[in-house]
Symmetry: none
Subunit: 122 residues, 4 copies
């Protein structure tokens, strides 16, 4: 799985890493139990500070997406809690995006098609 930093983005780098790993887990690029690169290796690969990668991993651990231990480094969690439903923040974010898309001339069916594509087959 390849992580790309968009240096033009306002999204902090550690968030970009966190987001791409979450998306990787969701779309299957990262399998349950799969080993993630070490903090050091990923920082080197991306040419960024170790602290930045570490912050991303800490957040992923807190959110229950990955688990870490000294022996094996970081791995994708086997059992991700599927009972949480959509978070309040994401609901608000979704509402904003839907509103803006609507005002930009995107029709309801176009938007739904896009969501279906992004969701994937399962």
């Amino acid at each position: 799985m390849i992580i790309r930093i968009d240096e033009l983005s306002d999204v902090p780098i550690y968030q970009q890493i966190r987001n791409q790993i979450v998306m990787g887990i969701s779309d299957g690029s990262l399998s349950p139990g799969e080993q993630l690169p070490t903090v050091r290796a990923l920082a080197l690969e991306l040419g960024i500070n170790i602290m930045t990668v570490s912050k991303a991993y800490q957040q992923l651990k807190l959110e229950g997406y990955i688990m870490t231990n000294r022996k094996n480094g970081a791995r994708v969690r086997i059992e991700i809690d599927k009972q949480k439903g959509i978070s309040g923040q994401n609901r608000t974010g979704l509402k904003r995006i839907v509103s803006e898309a609507r005002l930009s001339g995107v029709t309801k069916s176009e938007l739904i098609t896009l969501v279906e594509e992004l969701y994937g087959d399962k």
Copy 2:
């Protein structure tokens, strides 16, 4: 139309104002041509600085959602450009939210129902 600031949010206050006005325009709480509160009135009402409201209005103006005018204050633009389509940023944000919702156990049909609700009837 009532604007509420979430002081605990990471989203800057001026962005929260901007977002709520955009959502208000999209869902019809704010009609084309409708007068917005003056920067001073809104700042007083929300207990925040004039500059903060002003920054929100300036962004809305730049984005083409409102027009400002020394005589009339700020008003919702009559003709909002409907040809823009979904922005790259919003597409990326949507992808992230869909991924997270999916990992949180939201089914595809639940998500589509939510998007339909948020989009509204038209």
Copy 3:
């Protein structure tokens, strides 16, 4: 000659009037000696304050484009001073516009063609 106010513009209304009259004189829509509408009539026609039109006329008079007297109202000046050359402000403004056009991919010959068009036949 028809004057149109762009209420979306940041250019003050009195400046918009002043600019359109200058452009009208330059392109021949307004002839030397031609009578301009009275301040009152133009304000009524445009639905704006009398003071605003008055300010435009005062500036035009100061700049030597029109002359006013109580009997005849305002007229385009017969002899406009053709020895002034381009003003410092306009030179700076032109430099900015040329720079931006260049960075926006407008070629030198496209820009010159545009200037020739705007200048007209004479």
Copy 4:
């Protein structure tokens, strides 16, 4: 690259900074990828407030001329979008300047020579 503020100008300070940086990029005084002074350094150098410089940088960022970054400060963007063409506002501004130049006795060929000079060699 040296930035000079004209305190007598009607153009807001933040716009003057923005304009001079755009012109610097266009004429090659600022190269793609080049580091700009930090907001603090430029504010100190010009004897103005940090917020004023910050506003200029934010506008340049929004317009796609520069990118900002907590690590590296602000830099000239490597790839500036060359597909935009001349903006409506600049077209209007150019028309006004051409009209005024014409009325001030500047001939068509003089004006074109000036535009060619301002555009530069490429």
